[in-house]
Every structure is written in C-alpha cells, then in structure tokens.
C-alpha cells in the first residue's frame, strides 16, 4: 500500500506531497524520538503527536514512509518546509494515536 492510498477525509496530507508514492510496509507508534530511531523499520507509517522540525529529520534518517500527526496537532511551519523539501509526507489525524492505528489497520488489511 502506498501513502496516497491511506489519504481520505480522516487522514489529510499537510506536507510532503512529493513523497506520496512511497510504500507503507509497517506502522509504528511512539513519541520518543530516540526510541523511534532505535526501533522503527524503514517503510513504516509513524504515528506521533510531536510536531517540530526534528520529527522530519528522524523520518528522513530512518526512511519512514510518512508521519501521521494525531490529536489534530498542527505541524510547525519550519517542519512543513522541511517535509516539503525532503518529500516526507505528513498527514494530520484528529483522533488519538490509538484511533489512528486502528483506522490504518483497517485500511491496510
């Protein structure tokens, strides 16, 4: 499944449209950046509530397919610029991380 395939009225793209053809092969949920660096598999959709620019850097270093920002949190402006520059799709979701994981699980089935 590609990033573009999970976009709908709940999962809305807010940055990094150049990367929507990336494949999603896994889902990972965590807000601790070092934990993500240590455990996430490349090709994952990463669910978090962190919104600052370093989130994009972590996604880039670990080859994450997309970032899903939950609870309706707004992405920082410089993070948006960086995500567009690096083609890292950032998707907004209004519900909790738990809800996002459940919805993704239904979509990925």
């Amino acid at each position: 499944m590609k990033v573009k395939d999970i976009l709908n009225s709940e999962f809305t793209l807010v940055a990094g449209s150049g990367g929507i053809e990336k494949e999603i092969s896994n889902v990972y949920v965590c807000d601790l950046l070092s934990f993500v660096m240590s455990h996430v598999k490349s090709g994952s959709a990463w669910i978090t509530i962190q919104t600052h620019v370093n989130v994009v850097a972590v996604a880039l270093m670990t080859e994450i397919s997309c970032i899903i920002i939950c609870e309706g949190e707004k992405l920082d402006e410089n993070a948006k610029v960086k995500a567009d520059e690096e083609n890292i799709p950032v998707i907004s979701f209004s519900g909790t991380s738990y809800d996002a994981a459940i919805r993704l699980s239904e979509l990925i089935k």
Binding site: L32, S38, T48, N54, A57, L60, M61, T62
Partner: protein
Amino acid sequence: MEFDVKARDFSSAGESSSAFRKTLLMLSVPSDIVRRASIAAYEAEMNIVIHSYGGKMHFEIYSDKIVIIAEDTGPGIKDLELAMTEGYSTAPKEVIEMGFGAGMGLPNMKRNADVMDIVNHDENGTKIVMTINI
C-alpha cells in the same frame, strides 16, 4: 566533510546528518549502511545540540568504511557506564518534552556503528569516533 553544530539550535539540528546522508546516497552506498550511518550521525549531532556548548560533526567516506567523528566542548559525560545504559538520561525537561532524552542516544550509536570509541569525555568536552564498514 565538516559541519559546525550549535548548542540548543533545534531548528537547524540534523542538517549536517542530512547533508551527510545525501552524500552517501549520491555515492550509491548500500541502503542499510546509509540508514545505520544516518541514525548514528543524527544521534551524535543531537547529543551535541542537547548536551554541549557546541561542536563539530566530521565525516570521512572511504571505499570500505565510513568514519563519523562528533566532537564538542561541554561538560563531558560524567558516568560513561550509566550513559551507555538504555533509558538513563540527563536531558533537561524541555528537551524531553520534544521527544528527545529517552536515554537511547549513545546505545543507538553503538548499535548502528561497527566500532564506537569515546575518545575523551572530560570537562573539556566529548569526542566520539564511529566507524561503519561498507
């Protein structure tokens, strides 16, 4: 390649690791090596941003290995054994709120490098040398 890294400059943190990563990709270094080198470099760069008074990231790329040197001025690492323990962190509260400071930095660097030497870690600063075989 050498880059200056400023203390507490979170908005440009990661730039040297990003540039290094792009160079590795341009040189067609295998993707698993690029990923390991990028993670090791980024953790080292963030350590300089979070814990030091500023420093440098230095990268050397050879046909058979990559060498990453992170050097800073700062308080050094007071207890190396504790710092190498996953979950132990001395990061300040505002850094932890950003999702850093989970106490995984040095263990992550060690896990991703083939060889990691902490050359010095005294009150004059810290120097870490990591080698990743290609």
